[in-house]
């Protein structure tokens, strides 16, 4: 029998420390939906998504009630549209984004990911058409998320794609007053089973349908660390591992249950400490709890490295199917502690870049001055891709150059996406660097110093 203390621990985690299932994401393959005729192609996509996911939201809500654990989001990821719709006879891919949006609204999910292309080694004709359509697609839709993979450890960095994405981000910002950029991620080493938005897509090696679950819980880790104040890092790591274990076990239980009820195979549990703007749900708070005056102070990278690694270790002990991005996210606008530090000038983009060497993804939800030029954004993407490529990890860039705003202003993205101060960017030009184009070759995998 479970003890009273254990029961109360769980309830406290849920009611006071914001423990939740952040998302149940159903991956749906659209590989059989490609048709030459645009109308027919859109029809098949709509029908497949709405049929496959018709019960997703209801089942999510049932599980939420029975287990008494909040399931914050129900979402869908699909095969990268550049692949699924390549054969379609259309110049603009915007109609596909509109179809995804309609399907998402019909089944009641708040985001659908997969308006994506994988171009780490080069573009196909479909990849180009999709990427050119991204700004208009994000203007015309509410729930569609887009991602482009521009680099990998095996292929190197496609610098033509990097330069192009600099332009696409600027164009998206201009068309959407910046808001669309919150739903656009540029990846290196993108994973195929990530359930978190905005970077989720259903990889080509995935089955017909799959259930992936993302669990979170920065508040739970923070609270556990408050009980080991001043103790050595061995104790800190052990405490994080134990907490991550419990959280992942809960995620696996929910994932198995959702998979059974929806008749779709269980894929992975992604244990990512994903902050929200709510007080007490912050990754920055965890780093500060380890003894830093503010996130961004010297020591931040080491603290984050320990956190990210301990979370993974606790997770893999708890479930044989840990996957996705698993680790700690460091989105600025979605984390009250990061926002505080950025607004006070204690956290800079350069420090965030260093932190992305050891966190689970990359530069995330960072608002930039509206006059940041496309070459600078492309160069930021190149830097981040290089970190991912060399270190064999996923990195990403989700930055928002907000039209008409400058350093010191604030921008609000609404809901889970939060709000952010505009952060200063190094103004030295990278125009000639970016203009070179071509490919940065894949790195050597020996002589590792």
């Amino acid at each position: 029998m479970i003890t009273t203390n254990e029961i109360l621990d769980t309830i406290e985690m849920i009611s006071q420390q914001h423990l939740d299932i952040r998302t149940i994401t159903m991956g749906i393959s659209l590989r059989d939906c490609g048709r030459e005729d645009l109308r027919e192609c859109c029809g098949r996509i709509y029908d497949k998504i709405t049929k496959s996911a018709e019960n997703l939201v209801r089942v999510g809500e049932d599980i939420e009630r029975e287990f008494g654990i909040p399931i914050v989001n129900k979402r869908i990821s699909v095969t990268p549209i550049a692949i699924a719709c390549e054969c379609c006879d259309t110049e603009s891919f915007v109609p596909f984004a509109e179809t995804l949006d309609r399907a998402a609204k019909e089944v009641g999910v708040n985001f659908i990911g997969g308006f994506s292309a994988l171009v780490q080694k080069g573009f196909t004709a479909g990849d180009r058409r999709l990427i050119d359509s991204i700004p208009e697609a994000l203007r015309a839709t509410e729930r569609v998320c887009s991602s482009v993979n521009v680099a990998s450890t095996r292929a190197g960095i496609n610098m033509d794609a990097v330069a192009l994405m600099g332009r696409i981000i600027k164009r998206t910002a201009d068309l959407t007053d910046g808001q669309g950029c919150a739903k656009l991620v540029v990846f290196a080493n993108a994973v195929e089973d990530n359930p978190f938005m905005a970077g989720a897509f259903h990889g080509v090696g995935e089955p017909e349908r799959v259930i992936n679950v993302g669990v979170s819980g920065p508040g739970v880790v923070h609270s556990a660390l408050q009980k080991v104040k001043g103790q050595p890092f061995d104790v800190v790591a052990e405490t994080i591992k134990k907490t991550a274990f419990r959280v992942t076990r809960m995620g696996e239980l929910v994932a198995q249950e959702a998979s059974r009820r929806l008749g779709a195979p269980f894929g992975i549990v992604d244990l990512s400490l994903a902050p929200t703007p709510a007080v007490g749900d912050s990754v920055a708070d965890i780093l500060e709890e380890m003894g830093l005056e503010s996130v961004g102070a010297p020591g931040t990278t080491a603290a984050l490295a320990l956190l990210n690694d301990a979370v993974k270790k606790g997770g893999v002990m708890a479930s044989s199917n840990v996957g996705g991005l698993s680790g700690a996210f460091i989105p600025v606008s979605e984390d009250a502690g990061m926002i505080r530090a950025a607004a006070a000038g204690r956290l800079t983009i350069e420090k965030l870049e260093a932190m992305t060497c050891v966190c689970s993804v990359g530069l995330d939800m960072i608002a930039l001055p509206g006059d940041t030029d496309e070459a600078t954004i492309a160069a930021i993407i190149a830097d981040e891709s290089a970190i991912g490529m060399i270190n064999q990890k996923t990195t990403a860039v989700r930055v928002i150059p907000v039209p008409g705003k400058g350093v010191g202003d604030r921008v609000d993205f609404g809901g889970l996406l939060g709000s952010a101060p505009i952060m200063p960017v190094n103004r030295c030009s990278a125009r000639e660097f970016v203009a070179r184009g071509g490919r940065i070759p894949a790195p050597i995998n020996s002589l590792k110093n």
Partner: protein, 89 residues
């Protein structure tokens, strides 16, 4: 299916009676019950069996929650599996 009912809040007369009345009306069998004052709160934990429950789980959960709100208590019902998963290997 086994579930755990937890009641947390300030102690008042008749808490157990009112919770048990709801459970009995819905055909839910109480298997175990413990009550204590913990972390400054009155805490009651019940292990129940919902196999014979005459209403669906969502409705039962709603009835208990509303009873809790009326009395200024936090009353939850959750499947037992979640506690097992989190605290047992």
């Amino acid at each position: 299916m086994r579930a755990i009912v937890t009641v947390i809040g300030r102690d008042t007369v008749g808490i157990i009676a009112s919770v048990c009345a709801i459970l009995a009306k819905c055909g839910v069998n109480v298997l175990d019950i413990s009550q204590t004052v913990m972390r400054e709160y009155f805490t009651m934990i019940m292990l129940v069996d919902t196999a014979g429950c005459s209403v669906d789980f969502a409705e039962l959960s709603g009835l208990l929650r509303r009873e809790g709100e009326a009395r200024g208590l936090d009353i939850r019902i959750q499947r037992e599996d979640i506690f097992e998963a989190m605290h047992r290997i």
